[in-house]
């Protein structure tokens, strides 16, 4: 504004329009500034309140909404046979659950769920109308089904990631593998025995999610998968054993049967089978009898196969020689007020013939020569009455009474395998001691346990329990038992091209009604090893209550032959194999004697 205008201006009302506009603009700027300053102050105050004053409380609430603790999936380790073939695998599944209170349209939701899960609509509708806070719609559902339900985006439906055990070979090795429960815990067999290693460790991991519950970040969980179990079992030998056992049980119309194949030098179990068997994938559909691992947990009277033990003791104590003769008494003998008969009339037999022809009278006379005390020592020494300590649950030690509890008949009964109960496994371990040169070995099934990261956690190695007979005695006995197959009761066990040693047994069962030995119910068995000089396989076949082919030599021995022949073929063993017999070292003779 020019100074001249101000000079003569005494009237303030003479304000130019431009000045007035500027003044107005200035006021407006001031008002706007003040408003903005006030707004800024409010925002700053709010910011201070949120970021400083209420920070701890708000960050806790925010984390509570965005971070969730979710369980990681604890997957069980895989079980493999000795050649790395899968016998039990865990695969991912999801359990689908509902919170009925949160379901807005139970009818619509149940129809949609039923279509996705293949379940009856009525059943789901009832579940969704339940007053429970949480109900499982379907447990262990395949992931495809869970994904289908997830796509429905139903409110009040949740998922729980789990794993499901699957046995791809169904019945194969079912009694060995056992099975797991709904919560993936081992209930039977190796699944139970090694549950601690196989079970994965379930951990809680933090997961950040957005408003739509979509995961943004997840903490890296530590390894939650269980360790893998590598077995001594050979899938092919196992299959052969199961196939032949099933055929024998069916052919003879038997109640059941058991068979075990073992490496007599190391104690490694190559196959273990029971028939009837079951499918561990649907174990609830099988009876308790079918699920029981009868080869290990049940016992039976071994009958004539037990004559091997009395013979081993008498030979070891040098009380008999193979060529020593015994009076066969015409096949009948009176002991302790009881009359015991042979299956045929023998007038005179050598010790070798007592075993090859399975003479009861001869075995009783050998037992009498050995005496109660020595015989009991050898029974105990061969592991009867104690656990073999195989790595399977529920093993039976069998039944054996001490000599002071024996009656006048007991020594005679025990000499022909009565008044004692043993498991098929115990009988096989005892025969293996004869096969391997006189050393009792511990049978085992798990070869190694390997963690998910490949680290070997545990290795089971062959364990020698004790020497029970000398190598000479074992060799003599093996030669005699070879005679059982070449010219005795076990001719049907002969395998072409191989020398087989073994012993037949046909024992009468106790009739529970009469409490006497039954004439109809018997247990037919054969236990032996092959080849005699360089034993590769020790096998026992036990057929319970066959209705036809009732003799050990007529049903168990041929089954032994088929298992041995096919297994040797699979293991590529030829009659000319020159692998040396590995004998136990550092174990002194007769260290097993009991007081």
């Amino acid at each position: 504004m020019p100074r001249s205008t101000r000079k003569g201006s005494s009237n303030k009302r003479e304000i130019t329009p431009a000045a007035a506009r500027r003044a107005l603009l200035r006021r407006r700027v001031i008002v706007l500034f003040c408003s903005l300053a006030l707004a800024l102050a409010v925002v700053t105050g709010q910011l201070f309140s949120l970021q400083v004053y209420r920070y701890p409380e708000l960050i806790k609430a925010a984390n509570g909404q965005t971070w969730r603790q979710v369980p990681s999936v604890a997957r069980r380790g895989t079980i493999y046979d000795r050649n790395g073939r899968e016998l039990a695998i865990s695969i991912g599944t999801a359990s689908i659950y509902a919170r009925p209170a949160e379901i807005e349209d139970p009818d619509g939701a149940s129809a949609a769920l039923a279509a996705s899960l293949g379940l009856p609509v009525k059943q789901i509708r009832e579940q969704l109308r339940s007053k429970k806070s949480l109900i499982y719609i379907k447990r262990s559902a395949p992931l495809e089904e869970a994904e289908a339900v997830m796509r429905l985006a139903l409110k009040g439906i949740g998922f729980d990631a789990q794993s499901r055990r699957f046995y791809p070979k169904a019945q194969q090795a079912a009694h060995l593998l056992g099975f797991v429960g709904t919560d993936d815990q081992g209930l039977e067999g190796l699944e139970l025995q090694y549950d601690h290693y196989l079970a994965g460790k379930r951990k809680w991991v933090a997961r950040q999610q957005d408003a739509k519950r979509r995961p943004i970040f997840r903490e890296e969980a530590d390894e939650t998968q269980g360790a893998d179990l590598h077995l001594t079992i050979d899938e092919v030998v196992q299959y052969i054993t199961e196939r032949e056992l099933e055929a024998a049980v069916s052919q003879s119309g038997a109640l059941s049967g058991s068979a075990i194949v073992m490496n007599p030098l190391s104690g490694e179990i190559l196959a273990l089978a029971n028939y009837p068997t079951f499918d561990p994938n649907v174990y609830t559909e099988a009876s308790a009898f079918a699920r029981r691992n009868r080869a290990v947990v049940d016992y039976y009277e071994p009958g004539s196969t037990f004559k091997v033990i009395v013979g081993a003791g008498a030979l070891e104590e040098r009380l008999v020689r193979p060529e020593d003769r015994f009076n066969g008494e015409g096949g009948v003998i009176e002991v302790g007020g009881a009359t015991i008969r042979d299956h045929e009339r023998f007038d005179s037999l050598t010790f070798t013939e007592v075993l090859t022809h399975s003479s009861n009278v001869g075995a009783i006379k050998v037992g009498q020569r050995l005496g109660k005390s020595h015989y009991y020592d050898y029974i105990s020494g061969f592991g009867f009455g104690t656990l073999t300590k195989i790595d399977l649950p529920g093993e039976t030690p069998g039944l054996i009474r001490r000599p002071k509890e024996w009656s006048a008949l007991s020594l005679a009964s025990l000499s022909m395998g009565q008044e004692i109960s043993v498991s098929p496994l115990q009988m096989l371990v005892a025969m293996s001691a004869i096969a391997n040169g006189g050393v009792l070995v511990r049978p085992f099934i798990a070869k190694s346990i390997v963690a998910a990261d490949g680290k070997v956690i545990r290795v089971n190695t062959p364990t020698q329990i004790r020497r029970v007979i000398s190598e000479d005695t074992a060799r003599t006995l093996a030669t005699i038992l070879k005679g059982v197959v070449t010219e005795g009761t076990g001719k049907a066990a002969a395998v072409e091209g191989f020398e087989v040693a073994g012993k037949t047994g046909t024992s009468q069962k106790i009739d529970r009604a009469t409490r006497r030995y039954s004439r109809q119910k018997v247990v037919a068995s054969f236990v032996g090893f092959v080849p005699v000089e360089r034993p590769q396989l020790a096998i026992i076949v036990m057929i319970d209550e066959p209705s036809t082919l009732r003799w050990g030599g007529s049903i168990a021995a041929p089954t032994f032959r088929e298992i041995a022949r096919e297994s040797l073929k699979h293991l590529r063993r030829s009659p000319t194999d020159q692998e040396p017999l590995r004998l136990a070292e550092g174990i002194r003779h007769a260290t097993f004697r009991l007081d």
Partner: protein, 116 residues
């Protein structure tokens, strides 16, 4: 004595002085403004970078989750295929197929020759 209009002189002086100082003041103001704008720009870039970083982290988080889901799915598929392979390799099934569909039988004794 000459009389001067002091007021007029002062006004003129001011105007003259003002006309001399004005470019300098404007320059300083421009510089200040430029400085302020630059500072504001840097602050804005830092803030935007910070926000972008956060957005990127979240975006990558979604990607990682998605890839982890994909990986889990593939591992699951692999497991299921292993189960299927194991099922198909079941010796019972293979033998049944060999006997029934292909008419094969096991070799009889004497038909097997072991080559040393």
């Amino acid at each position: 004595m000459r009389s001067y209009d002091i007021a007029a002189l002062t006004s003129v002086g001011r105007e003259r002085a003002g006309s001399l100082l004005k470019p300098r003041v404007d320059q300083i103001r421009r510089f200040d403004l430029l400085q302020t704008l630059l500072l504001g720009g840097v602050v804005l870039i830092v803030v935007l970078f910070y926000v972008w970083q956060h957005v990127q982290v979240i975006r990558l988080g979604y990607q990682v989750e998605s890839l982890m889901g994909e990986r889990a799915g593939l591992l699951q598929q692999q497991k299921e295929l292993r189960v299927e392979v194991a099922q198909l390799k079941s010796l019972r099934r293979v033998e049944e197929m060999a006997r029934r569909q292909l008419g094969l039988t096991g070799p009889k004794p004497g038909q097997v020759i072991t080559l040393e």
